[in-house]
């Protein structure tokens, strides 16, 4: 197996996730795209862990999974709150903080 095939897969997933964050309006779908990005980073970390024979990549990947779980929890709580107040989770309608 080549090193670059895993890194390339990570790059593809990362770019798809970036496209999703830019293109999507629904807040839940934007959170899903962020999950794609975090998973691509994990694939990269584990590929380098195998390449260098080091356990650091595994540790970082586990930490990223934990942070992603916390992020989804808070993110969906915020989405629920916004939906309750505005009956919509379109990100383009949230303009209160515009200067």
């Amino acid at each position: 197996m080549l090193t670059s095939q895993f890194l390339l897969l990570g790059a593809i997933l990362f770019c798809i996730g970036v496209y999703g964050v830019i293109a999507r309006k629904n807040a839940v779908l934007v959170l899903m795209s962020i999950e794609l990005i975090l998973n691509s980073v994990n694939i990269n970390l584990l590929a380098f862990a195998l390449r260098n024979g080091s356990a650091d990549g595994h540790t970082f990947a586990l930490y990223i999974i934990a942070v992603a779980a916390a992020e989804v929890g808070v993110g969906l709580a915020m989405v629920l709150l916004i939906y309750r107040n505005r009956r919509s989770i379109g990100l383009d309608e949230l303009s209160e903080m515009r200067g």
Binding site: C15, V18, S33, E35, T59, L62, A69
Partner: protein, 170 residues
């Protein structure tokens, strides 16, 4: 001889799983149905777990299945159910300027592909990788990375309390 066959099998497995992941990821960002997007995301996350097994990271793969497919997807489905009255196809899931994302992602991918090709090229992963067991990972977490572990515990605690406070009705 046997090792060569194993490597071929690994490459075929990688190609099949990677193809499924890419198709799933594309469907996540293009489908018009939020529930379908969540289910396609399950395909991508399962594929990522399989790739972790290919990368000799069994413990991370199991954690991925437990945390992502078990917990995060349930959160997503609950979030979808609680924020939408009906389940089905929706019209306006995309921004008006969604086409802007295509050149951004394309340029980003071109830059990363060029950087990868020039720095790694056709470098092989080690044929006989050092097996990293759970014991070594725990030695890492509770040894040199203990402080980030504590910080992460506080992050999770703050996230739990924050989520309860935000979602509470009063």
């Amino acid at each position: 001889m046997f090792a060569a066959e194993l490597l071929v099998a690994q490459n075929i497995g990688f190609a099949v799983i990677a193809l499924a992941m890419i198709v799933g990821a594309l469907r996540v960002v293009t489908t018009n149905n939020v529930v379908h997007a969540a289910l396609w995301l399950v395909v991508v996350l399962s594929g990522a777990a399989a790739q972790y097994v290919l990368l000799a990271a069994e413990f991370v793969a199991i954690t991925q299945v437990l945390v992502y497919i078990g917990a995060v997807m349930v959160l997503f489905l609950f979030g979808t159910m609680l924020t939408r009255a009906r389940i089905g196809t929706e019209r306006d899931l995309n921004n008006t300027y969604w086409r802007l994302g295509i050149p951004v992602a394309g340029v980003l991918f071109a830059a990363m592909a060029i950087a990868l090709a020039s720095s790694f090229g056709d470098e092989q992963l080690p044929k006989e990788p050092r097996v990293i067991g759970v014991q070594e990972i725990s030695d890492q977490i509770f040894g040199p990375y203990l402080l980030p572990f504590w910080a992460l515990s506080f992050v999770l605690l703050a996230a739990i309390i924050g989520a309860i406070v935000l979602a509470r009705k009063d």
